[in-house]
Every structure is written in C-alpha cells, then in structure tokens.
Symmetry: C2
C-alpha cells in the first residue's frame, strides 16, 4: 500500500554540541519518506529550487519512493538553519528562507490521487486542504502542524481537523492547540474536533496514541548518544504510517505496533546528522529496537482491569 | 517483610492553581510510609516538634506502621511552604524552617535494627550513614537525595553510594550527580560508584530502572486532574519498596512489577492534597491502575532481540 506524502523538501544547516552539518537535505517530506520507505512505497509531492541536490534523494527512489511529484523551480530551495543547546532539547532557529516554497501550490499527479494513506507534513493548513481536495478516496489521513499555524491559521487548521483521521503533533503543540495544559484533556479536545486519533510525540519521553476508548504509550528508546534531533518527529511519523500502510490495516494491534516502529525510527534518526542514519538502516536493526522496546516495558501481572 | 524508613516528618503549606492546604502532614517518611504500608509493615524513624499533630498519623499505625521511632522534641516541626506554577511541573519554595530537624540524630530503636529492607529518605548523607551504621544486616537499601546534598555534601554522598543497593532520584538529580546530561550515561556513572540499581523518576514522564544489564521503563499514569505533585516521588518509592518487601524477593520480574506499583502509587498521590488520597486507597484501585499501565504499554510482536 503506497502513501502520499506532501511536505517540505529543504536544505538544513544544523549546529549541535557535537558538530555541524551544512546545507544537508532535510524537510518534513524527506525525513518522513526516508523512514516510511523502509516499510512501504511513498509518493512525494513538494517543491525545490534549482540549487537542490536531487541526486542525494536517489536512495529514496531506489527503495520505492516516487519523487515525480517534486517540482523543481527556478530560485532558492527552502532553507533552515538552527543551533541546538547543550541538552539537545531546545534549539534556536538562526535563519529561515522560504525561497520557492513561498509560492508552493501542491499539484497532486494523476497517478497519486488514488492514495489511501496520506501524510500531510507541517505546511500551511490551506495547502493541506488543497491536497485533500485532489485525493479521490483517502482512508487514513494523518497530519502534522506547528505553533506558527496554530497561532496564525487557526480557523483553517480547525476545519482541517474535520477532514483528517490522525493528528500527529508534539506535546507543546497539542497543548497550545487545545488551550489546555493537561495532555489527556488536550488530546480529548482535539478528538472532539474530528480526528479519530491523536499521536502526541514527546521526544526522548516517548509518544502517546489517544484512540477512541484506549491509549497506548511507547517510550523513547534510551540512547547514549544523540547527535541531531532534527527530523525525529517526521521519522517517527514515517515509521508509524509506513508500518500501517505495510500492514494494510489499522486494528488496535497494528496501531500499537506502528507506534513502536515509529519510536524505533525516531531513535535511529537522531543518531547521526540529517537523514544519514536512515539511508541504509537494515530491517533487522529496526526490528531489534522494537523487540528491545518490548523488553523495556513488558511485565507479568495476574491483575486485570 | 518490614521496611525501615528514615526521613523527614514535616508540616507542609502547599499552594497549587487549584487551591491550597495549610500545615498538612507531609515529609519524605510520611509519604513513603503512606504508600509502603499498603503492601508491608514499615518502621519509621524521624523527629517532630511539639506542634505536630501526631494523631493524623494514626491511620498509618492502623495499617502496620510502627511509629515508635518518631521522636517528639520541644520546638517547631520541619516546615515547608511552596507554590506550584500553572503547569505543576515547577514550583517555588516560599519558606523552609528546619526546626527540631536541624539537630536530628537518627536513633534506630533496637527492635528496628534487624531490618532487611531500608529506605533512606532525602536527608543529610551524614545522617544516612549513621542509620546504616546502626542496622545489623540490611539486604535491600534504597536511598534518595537532592540537589542541596549533591552540591554541599558530595564526598559524603559518594561514600554513601558505596553502601546502598538502589539509588532513587529524579532525572535532574541523577544528571547533576553524574555531571552528565545523557540519562543512560548518568545512570551508568552512578552504578560505577556502587549501587547495583538506579531508579530515575521523571514525574509525569514515568520512571526508569537501570539494572546490571537491563532496563525497565514505566510510564506515568495519564491523569486528567493533578491537584498536588508534592510527595509523588516518595509515594513512588513507597509503592516500589513496599511491593518488593511484600514479595520478599528482588528478581527481575519482581523489580519490574515494583516499578509499576510505584507508578500506580505516585499517580494516586497527586490526585488530592497531601497524603489524603493514600489514606484509604483500596488494594483493588492500586491493582486496577497496574493493569491499566500494562494495557497502556503492551503490544504483540514476533520479532526478537
């Protein structure tokens, strides 16, 4: 089962306490696709400038990404520069230049319009609406967003929530969106706006899936070395949705496993700069971390709810 | 199996966004004992002033606490006043008055010296040493500490680490103690100083047990209402060590379950002011939350490490 992914295709300059990487390929669509293609084919829609090193995305095509929906325009690619603090939990944005992304109008190629799984990366909610307008019969639509849109495009975002099945955001974002400090209440508020499920990503603290009448929690995989947190949330989303598309179903058991695959992918993403670690990650390594996450949380008890 | 607990027996004045409680019974020994006696008898050693409402601890005696080691002296009891911020994750200490606690010298009654399980609440490491000097053949010694002792009594604290089996602290404390931002490395550093195990409490984000060659993670139980975080860490410790003393063993399976009972107790502790919620908490309620924590994290997979 193929996934349609629409999001940013960017160049990132990243500084961390352990080093720096200059103008490396990134953006929500790239991180998502690098993770999701380890499970399922992905059809990518985005825009880049004529400065973009598209050849660096060849490894994605080689493992089942269809990049024909990435439009190349005259001008500069979306560029982000940021610096992480010592503890890697906070970062300063040093520069953002939208470039050709400023006038991005997602055009979904005819061949992509039958997608049943759709991932709407963190872009203007108006564009996320435009994507959905062009897809024929999507089944599982997941979307991300950020503080900028929650503040500046609230009405459009709330209308979008009525059209998506899964909202995937971080803990700060869901609190801000719901105007509610309590995570459980914030997620329930979002669900009342439309989405059947909310996935709240908490970085090293793991992630929670809020479904109709049950919750599932997966911890962050404990790492001794974190080099670059950039894109971890999108890699999580790629592992999560990639696993579901591969399973072709979204039973509660599939969703639980998808969360764990998301955590496995998110943890690998941060081990090297940019998308490096996701480039040739063996399936056995992904599975090993899934098994380790089970051993990290499993316990025996005779008591019943 | 009985547990010897030495710590503060205090009066707390607590302000939260949801209300306030004035001069209620608290302190590490009280929270620990309120949780641990739900599983095992506890022998308490501490000191209070002549202003202390000891009758408010009668419910502890009724369920197996021996309070004969609490010395009452002329003077004021340990008093703490604090105010929690809106998100309940941060708090300001408004006042601390040591009172009779300033000259506390733990005297372990003869009847308590055979204890096999010992909990050293967060007090001066010099006093924690004195307690251990008086216990004949302790088997499972767990201790807590805080930033004040990590900074001011580092040598004594490091010497103590060579005498305890389990260090139970929060994430900030283990990072500060080890001088290491990475939690896994910080815990490994502590283990190299002596303790076989480190339990790192992360509040709403759960807790991790670092054992010799394995880890166990338990999430915080997701709550819609948190009234008062005071004492949650000590209630966790009480549930953890109380369960182990009840089991009478510390196999890996017991330790895993003990972590989950700790999380269950910590989550109940914060639902009302002070120790109120722990006063008449039915065993069935504790077990129900243990089962819910299992359902929150359990997933099926065929993959193996």
């Amino acid at each position: 089962m193929s996934i349609l992914c629409v999001g940013s295709v960017a160049l990132d300059s990243i500084q961390t306490p352990f080093g720096s990487a200059d103008r490396v390929v990134g953006g929500s669509a790239v991180y998502f696709t690098a993770a999701a293609t380890l499970f399922s084919p992905v059809q990518v829609v985005g825009v880049v400038g004529d400065d973009y090193p598209l050849a660096q995305l060849d490894f994605l095509s080689a493992r089942g990404a269809d990049l024909s929906g990435i439009e190349q325009r005259s001008g500069e690619s979306f560029f982000w520069a940021g610096r992480y603090h010592y503890d890697l939990n906070t970062r300063d944005t040093l520069q953002t230049r939208l470039g050709v992304f400023e006038h991005f109008e997602p055009k979904i190629p005819e061949a992509f319009r039958q997608a049943r799984f759709v991932f709407l990366g963190n872009i203007d909610p108006a564009l996320q609406h435009e994507v959905l307008d062009q897809v024929v019969a999507p089944d599982v639509i997941a979307c991300d967003t950020m503080n900028y849109w929650i503040e500046g495009s609230r009405d459009s975002l709330l209308a979008l929530l009525g059209r998506v099945r899964i909202l995937m955001v971080n803990d700060e974002e869901v609190r801000q969106l719901a105007g509610q400090a309590n995570l459980l209440r914030a997620a329930r508020w979002v669900q009342a706006q439309g989405p059947e499920m909310v996935v709240v990503k908490k970085g090293e603290h793991g992630a929670i899936l809020f479904a109709d009448d049950w919750l599932f929690f997966v911890p962050g995989y404990p790492l001794e070395e974190v080099f670059d947190p950039t894109g971890a949330g999108d890699a999580f989303a790629g592992g999560f949705l990639g696993y579901l598309a591969h399973a072709g179903a979204i039973t509660a058991d599939d969703l639980r496993r998808a969360m764990v695959y998301g955590s496995s992918l998110g943890s690998y993403a941060v081990e090297r700069f940019g998308i490096e670690r996701l480039k040739d990650l063996p399936a056995a390594a992904i599975d090993r971390r899934v098994a380790e996450l089970r051993d990290l949380t499993a316990f025996e008890t005779h008591v019943r709810v």
